[in-house]
Symmetry: C2
Subunit: 308 residues, 2 copies
C-alpha cells in the first residue's frame, strides 16, 4: 500500500493524511504499520495550564535536534472540544520549532469524547513511531483520566509544576505525583520555588523507598534555557534505569496487555450498542427500571450472563 510505504519513509504529508484517517476511526492502516513500531521513545509531559510545558518541550526538542534525533510532538487538550485550543495557541507562538526538518507536531482536542481522545492519541503516537520518530512527546493538561491513560503509554512521564502551583493545585498533586517519573518545577526564579521543591522532594522520597527509581525533583527556567540539559540527562538516566532493570520491556508488555483488553472491551461495547440489545428491548427494560419494576443491577447481570 502506497500510503504505508511513504509513511514508513517519514513523509510528513502522508503522516498528516494517515492521522486524519486514524482520527476518523480507520484502523486498517494501524494493522499494517504495527510491525514497524516499537522503536520510538515515548515521553509524557503533563501539569496544570500555564506551567510552561510547551516551552519545555520546545527547548528539549531543539537540543535533541542537535543530536540528530527526529521528534514527534502530540499536544492533547482534553478540556477543549474545539480542535486547536490553548495548546495550538502556544504552538503558534513558538513556530520556529514547528517548521524545522525532523519535527512533526499535532494538536488534538476532545470532540466531546474523552475516552476516544486517549485512544486516538495512542494510535496517532503509533503512526509517529512507524514514521521513524526517535522520540515522541505527548503533552497533556491537568490530571484527569485522559492524562492517566496517556501516562500509561509513556516510557518516561514528566510532571511540570510552577512555584504558584503550591496551593491552587494542592488537590491535583497526589494524582500528578503518582504518574511522575521526573518532577520539574519550572519558572524556578519565582517566589516559593524552594519551598515547593522541598515539599515535592519529601513526597518523592517516601515514594522512592518502595520503588527502584528515585523520582527526582528538579528546577528549570525553560524560557531562559536553564535546567534543560539536566532534564535531558535525567530522561537518559530514567531510560537507562528502565533498560538495566528489565522494567522497560516489562512495562511495554504490560501496556500491550492493557491495550488488547481495552480494544476487546471497545469491540464488545460497540456490539452491545449495535447488536446485543435491540433498541426496542432496551426501551422496554428502561421503562420497567424507571417505574422500579426492575433494577438496573439484576437486569445487567442477566443480560451479561446470557452472552456467555
Amino acid at each position: 500500500m502506497d500510503i504505508v510505504k511513504k509513511l514508513l519513509k517519514g513523509d510528513k504529508r502522508t503522516l498528516a493524511r494517515a492521522i486524519s484517517e486514524v482520527e476518523d476511526g480507520n484502523t486498517s492502516i494501524l494493522k499494517e504499520i504495527y510491525p514497524h513500531t516499537g522503536n520510538a521513545y515515548y515521553i509524557g509531559i503533563t501539569g496544570p495550564p500555564g506551567a510552561g510545558k510547551s516551552t519545555i518541550v520546545d527547548k528539549l526538542t531543539s537540543k535533541l535536534l542537535v543530536r540528530n534525533k527526529t521528534i514527534g510532538i502530540i499536544g492533547v487538550d482534553p478540556t477543549s472540544p474545539f480542535s486547536g485550543g490553548a495548546l495550538l495557541g502556544d504552538r503558534i507562538r513558538m513556530s520556529d520549532i514547528a517548521t524545522k526538518e525532523g519535527v512533526f507536531i499535532r494538536s488534538m482536542a476532545s470532540r466531546g469524547n474523552l475516552g476516544g481522545l486517549a485512544h486516538t492519541t495512542k494510535n496517532v503516537a503509533l503512526l509517529f513511531d512507524a514514521a521513524g520518530m526517535d522520540c515522541i512527546f505527548i503533552e497533556t493538561v491537568g490530571v484527569g483520566q485522559v492524562e492517566l491513560d496517556i501516562a500509561g503509554v509513556c516510557d518516561t512521564t514528566i510532571v511540570v509544576l510552577v512555584p504558584e502551583s503550591g496551593d491552587s493545585i494542592q488537590t491535583m498533586k497526589a494524582g500528578l505525583l503518582e504518574i511522575a517519573d521526573i518532577i520539574v518545577v519550572n519558572k524556578a526564579d519565582r517566589d516559593g520555588a524552594d519551598r515547593i521543591v522541598a515539599e515535592l522532594r519529601f513526597v518523592s522520597e517516601l515514594r522512592g523507598k518502595t520503588q527502584g527509581w528515585e523520582y527526582p525533583v528538579m528546577k528549570t527556567i525553560a524560557r531562559e534555557d536553564k535546567g534543560i540539559d539536566e532534564l535531558i540527562s535525567l530522561i537518559d538516566s530514567h531510560k537507562e534505569y528502565l533498560e538495566r532493570t528489565g522494567n522497560f520491556e516489562q512495562a511495554r508488555k504490560q501496556r500491550i496487555k492493557l491495550r488488547v483488553q481495552e480494544l476487546i472491551e471497545e469491540g464488545i461495547k460497540s456490539r452491545i450498542e449495535k447488536d446485543i440489545i435491540k433498541p426496542e428491548v432496551m426501551e422496554k427494560l428502561v421503562e420497567k427500571i424507571y417505574t422500579r419494576e426492575k433494577d438496573p443491577f439484576q437486569s445487567a447481570e442477566e443480560i451479561t450472563s446470557s452472552l456467555f
Copy 2:
C-alpha cells in the same frame, strides 16, 4: 433484611454501614433498595479547587433544612487517592452542618481507580435516595471524566467559578460549561467579577439559543450568604423547567439506559479478565505483539468475534 428496613427508615448508622458495603463492591443491597429510589433530587456542584463549592453547599443546606428537607452531601475528590483529602478538610472546618439532624455527609476519594469512583458515587447516591434524602448534593473538583460522569446522574448541575478563574482555568471552561445548568461566580466582591460574568453570559447565550433552558449566570458571595436565596430559586426554576418540558423523565430514562449499558460493559470486562482470555493465552499473545509478530488491533478483533 434488617439492614434494608433500617436504611429505608433513614437510620444514619445503617446508611454508613451500607455505604461501606457498596464501596467494597457488594451490589446485593442495591438491588433490594432500588424499588425505593427515584424520589431524591440530584444536584451536582463542580468547579476548580478553592472556588467555594463546599461553602455554597453548606449555605444551600442550611436554607433547605429550614424548609424541612433532608439533605445528603457526597464530596468526591478524584485527584486524591487518600480517603478524606481536601474535601474532608473543608468539611471539618464547617462541622456545624455535619452534626445537624437531617444531614448526611460522605467524602469519597479515588483509591487509584477513577472509573470505579464515578461508579461507586452513583451507587452511594442511590443509598442516600433510598434512605429518604429529599436532596442529594454531589460535589466534585475539576472537569475530568469523573466530573462528566457524575454530572450525567444529576438533575441540575451547578458550575462554580471565581473571578480569578478567568485566565487560569481558561482551558477548563469549555468542558465545564458543557455540563452546567447554572453557572455561579462566587466570591463576586473580588476584582474581575463583572468581566467573567459578562464572558460567561456571552457563552451561555450562544448555548441558550439551541436549548430550552437559558443557562443563567449569577453572582454569589457564599461566605456572606449573598446570592444563596437566588441560587435556590434558580434550582427550583430548573427543576420546574425539566418537569414542565418532560425533560426530567426523559433525562432520567436516558440515564437508566446508560447505566444499564455501563453495568453490562463492566460485567463483560470483569469476565474478560477472569474467564475469556486465560492468563497463559494472554501472555503468549502479548509476547507475539511485543515482537511485532502480531498486532493488537487484529488480535482484539479476532477475540471479540470469537465471543459472538
